[in-house]
Symmetry: C3
Subunit: 133 residues, 3 copies
């Protein structure tokens, strides 16, 4: 089954964007009842994470912590000046897998799926691929 693409424009340098509904929509379109859904990031200064989406302050706290761990003013070698974003991308990771059961994306009660923008604003794509089984 071909992967579908979620496209969006980020608005800030660092931002968590809730893409749960768009991932659910992509899963619905496949009509798959049981399987795995992969959410895959093709960019190297952004990532995918799962965290609480009930209170948006959680996402802001994640970003604040990442900025404290890898401050923007640290001197790095990469000439583009966005090494902190590349490093955060490797820490958070480029893909997540989710269970599909009875046609439903099996998330915990408080879980949402987030695109993590670490070097925006930019146009970003995320791929959603479903495997039956």
């Amino acid at each position: 089954m071909i992967a579908s693409k979620i496209s969006l424009t980020t608005r800030m340098r660092s931002e968590l964007i809730d893409i749960t509904d768009r991932v659910r929509g992509a899963v619905d379109q496949t009509k798959v009842k049981d399987g795995i859904c992969y959410v895959v990031m093709p960019h190297t200064t952004a990532a995918i994470t799962v965290n609480e989406n009930a209170d948006p302050s959680v996402g802001r706290d994640v970003l604040k912590a990442m900025d404290r761990l890898i401050p923007w003013d640290t001197i790095f070698e990469h000439a583009e000046g966005n090494s902190p974003a590349h490093i955060k991308a490797s820490i958070v990771g480029s893909d997540k897998a989710f269970i599909i059961e009875n046609g439903i994306l099996k998330l915990g009660q408080w879980q949402g799926i987030f695109l993590c923008e670490f070097d925006g604003p930019r146009q970003r794509d995320v791929f959603v691929k479903v495997i039956e089984g």
Copy 2:
């Protein structure tokens, strides 16, 4: 194939619990010979990791390092006061994939699968889903 659920009660605020044997048991029950096993965490203040399980000090060192990186007394926005646990969950990650070969979970010699509790003690579930192939 339907996912199975591992339920357990954590005893401490931060704790690594070795769930390797329970994941192996869930894989055995599926009778799948070759495929992939997903271990998925439905909570937002806990995570799944793979690390050495021969010496339990390794797990304690991982927790100590996480506490140094994201100290509990850091001021964050989220009113529940457990932002450090949410942040650690995003750093360590909510899912892991393992290879199944000849009916055996293919782990490295020193690898074990751990539930990372970052905001316990609590009742926690972990889902194990197997795909043939």
Copy 3:
């Protein structure tokens, strides 16, 4: 389909090694047109990451940041003295999933797949497993 193994020798204590071409080679050999490719690390002081491979300074910056976050001279409990490597392995993670489409590993324009050596030099193996779907 049986997993294939990529074997290599790392040369430094901390090092990122681009294994993209070897992963592509392993995928080509399976003749799978559509599916998922898993890259899985069986060691506990090394990891798999995805990041920019156009400029090798990005990988060096990732390693430098990891050394700042988890300095080698921090006192830990594990008697082998390589706890920082174990901790980095849990932060970066032991597996990554990639989409295969039309027989091609679907990576972003700037993405490469890296073995992260955190406690070398050593002989290391990486498993590549492909699932059709």
